[in-house]
């Protein structure tokens, strides 16, 4: 036992990951979702003769593009361990501001700027309360959810703003080329931008780090408060973008605009594989989830299935997609 020579010991390699990237991708959440989306697409094509038509599919994208744009920002926020339930009310407030400006004769560029600015301001207010005062985001944004929409109701009551400039309709009713709507182009563009931001930048790594352990992230030199504040700003900004699109699509503003959308946005994010507890998730997942929700509602709509059945299907889908991987793991021990 004269001891072993340390230099002669077998080199122990610690693998970065236990599986090859291909295997990992195959077993990932996104693959499962993609399979679900394809299955729904094929089922829809078989169930209704009207489904596989470029114009009809283009119309169908309007069911989810606006919500999905908010969902991208919301995904980052939820990954960082926070949430914003005031997004739909932010749309109402931004839309009301745009409507008021339109009455004063502000042109399309001005209206867009106002919509985005109000969205940013709402996000900044949420962010300041959460990061500045250290309040829980769920409480803050439940409060601002009532606050923002409340302001809209005070301004508009039972009235509506109409009379938007004719070229303002482009955002929600226009087409970039052929059947590709302006909204869909925006949706794709923001999917790309948020994908890069989350998956290919230091900022994105910081978001994951904060979601997994905010204290450790702070000790690693990440300015946690600042990152979170930026995420609230982004979520507000995207609500502003959605407000521009939706207002343009409806051609009018009422305080009840986008009522209940916050839950649909959160559903989309969770269905996309983002952990509601933070720390995990991806933008491709959210993109596929947006398509899944859009395809399900449009496909069932073509069959004239009552809306309440659609809600049940979406709810069941959410629970199934979340429960199945857990059951699978349990079953395999």
């Amino acid at each position: 036992m004269t001891g072993m020579n340390p230099t002669r010991a077998a080199v122990r390699t610690i693998p970065d990951r236990l599986e090859s990237p291909a295997r990992r991708a195959l077993k990932s959440w996104e693959t499962l979702l993609l399979a679900v989306a394809l299955a729904i697409f094929i089922a829809n094509s078989l169930a209704s003769p009207y489904f596989l038509d470029p114009w009809n599919l283009s119309d169908a994208t309007f069911n989810f593009t606006e919500k999905a744009m908010i969902a991208f920002a919301m995904a980052l926020l939820i990954i960082a361990g926070e949430i914003d339930l005031s997004v739909a009310s932010t749309i109402a407030l931004a839309s009301t501001a745009m409507g008021a400006a339109a009455q004063l004769g502000v042109g399309t560029p001005g209206l867009v700027a106002i919509g985005l600015a109000v969205g940013l301001a709402c996000g900044a207010f949420n962010g300041a309360l959460v990061t500045g005062l250290g309040l829980p985001s769920i409480v803050v944004t439940i409060g601002t959810m009532s606050l923002y929409r409340g302001i809209s109701y005070i301004v508009l009551g039972d009235q509506a703003y109409r009379g938007y400039p004719a070229d303002f309709a482009w955002f929600g009713q226009g087409y970039a080329f052929w059947v590709i709507s302006a909204e869909f182009v925006l949706f794709a563009l923001f999917a790309l931008l948020f994908g890069i931001l989350l998956h290919a930048t230091n900022f994105g790594r910081a978001v994951y780090a904060i979601g997994n352990n905010a204290t450790a992230a702070a000790f690693s030199g990440i300015r946690v408060g600042r990152v979170k504040f930026i995420l609230f700003l982004l979520t507000g900004l995207m609500s502003g973008v959605a407000a521009v699109c939706l207002t343009s699509r409806l051609g009018s503003t009422r305080p009840s605009i986008a009522m209940g959308w916050e839950l649909e946005v959160v559903t989309m994010v969770v269905l996309g594989g983002v952990s509601i507890l933070g720390g995990a998730g991806s933008i491709p997942g959210v993109v596929i989830a947006a398509f899944v929700m859009g395809l399900v509602t449009f496909g069932l709509g073509l069959l004239n299935v009552p809306g309440i059945v659609m809600s049940i299907v979406i709810g069941a889908l959410l629970i199934a997609v979340i429960a199945l991987p857990r059951l699978w793991r349990k079953w395999r021990g």
Binding site: S45, L46, D158, L246, R254, L302
Partner: protein, 334 residues
């Protein structure tokens, strides 16, 4: 990988074949979509019954009865998009918002679909004609009259429990009611509250009225959800005989409250007739047998005919009063 591609291709081809087989069929019937504010509301279920009656009478009509889960414009737009996709012949809609639906309905008209609104209207540029169940003026006068006639010397304090603050028709009726109020100088209107056509919220708002105004003599609820909730609230608060609930309601839902005395009388047109007439009009317009233009007369089967005014709107009939004497006769119908 090769095999998978081949299979995908085969599946795609099979799909295409099945598509060609199915698109050609089902076009010989006139397909009329009856779009309502939300599914699961008694009034609209009754209208759907009327639409089916009209379809049976006409013979070559298929009725698609549909609507969103919540009373939102966004939900109705999704429904309209799916109807455009199906290429229906006509859409007859009761709108959740007169303006927000205009772009979607314009698109439907651009693609050759006949669009009419009924019950709750759409702005003129978003439809070819609008069928009012009655005239708004008559309804406004009727609801205040019902409240006043049941008060001693037509004297007392009343409050209104409405649907949502953005509901088109309720707002117009309340406006018309206010115009008729000078005829009842001793009736005082305390205020308007909104129950959003949700049973629980309407109930809470009605309770709020009862508690905030001890002198309240009558609650006017021009909505079938609100009137039931208000009558229940009056019953639960032990105010039967003190506060009379009236307005617009469904006989089946109000029968118990008329018998208990919580509501002495209320009014409604017949939603069966309304769904029937809307279907008749949509059919004649879609088949090109009638033109939607000011002054035009459109036949509506057993209901006679309607005449369009200068905004292409028409009134079907007058609201009808239900009380203890006739409630049993109607409660099983709708």
């Amino acid at each position: 990988m090769k095999r998978r591609q081949v299979m995908a291709l085969a599946a795609g081809l099979g799909l295409a074949a099945s598509l060609m087989g199915t698109t050609a069929m089902a076009q010989d019937k006139t397909r009329i979509a009856l779009v309502v504010k939300a599914l699961g509301i008694g009034f609209f279920e009754a209208a759907a019954k009327g639409a089916e009656e009209a379809a049976a009478e006409l013979g070559d009509v298929e009725i698609i009865y549909t609507g969103p889960t919540d009373t939102t414009a966004e939900g109705q737009i999704e429904v309209i998009n799916s109807l455009i996709a199906q290429g229906v012949d006509a859409i007859a809609i009761s709108a959740n918002d007169p303006d927000a639906l205009v772009p979607a309905l314009k698109k439907a008209m651009d693609r050759g679909i006949t669009v009419i609104s009924w019950d709750s209207g759409v702005a003129p540029e978003g439809r070819q004609m609008h069928l009012n169940p009655s005239s708004n003026e008559l309804i406004g006068r009727m609801i205040i009259k019902l409240a006043a006639d049941n008060l001693p010397d037509q004297t007392g304090e009343v409050a209104v429990l409405s649907a949502s603050a953005t509901a088109t028709n309720q707002n117009i009726w309340i406006e018309e009611m206010k115009k008729a109020m000078p005829d009842y100088p001793n009736i005082k209107l305390l205020g308007v509250v909104y129950g959003d056509d949700l049973a629980d919220k309407s109930y809470r708002e009605a309770m709020g009225l009862i508690q905030s105004y001890p002198e309240l003599d009558a609650i006017i609820a021009p909505t079938s959800v609100g009137i039931v909730a208000a009558a229940q609230a009056v019953t639960d608060a032990g105010k039967i005989g003190q506060i009379n609930v009236t307005g617009l309601g469904l006989p089946s839902e109000m029968a118990g409250h008329v018998k208990s005395g919580a509501s002495k009388s209320f009014a409604i047109w017949n939603p069966i007739d309304l769904g029937y007439s809307a279907t008749m009009i949509a059919y004649h317009l879609a088949r090109g047998e009638a033109e939607a233009q000011p002054g035009a007369e459109i036949p509506i089967g057993r209901m006679g005919k309607v005449t369009l005014d200068e905004t292409n709107a028409a009134a079907m009939a007058e609201p009808f009063v239900y009380d203890a004497s006739n409630i049993d006769q109607f409660k099983d119908i709708f």
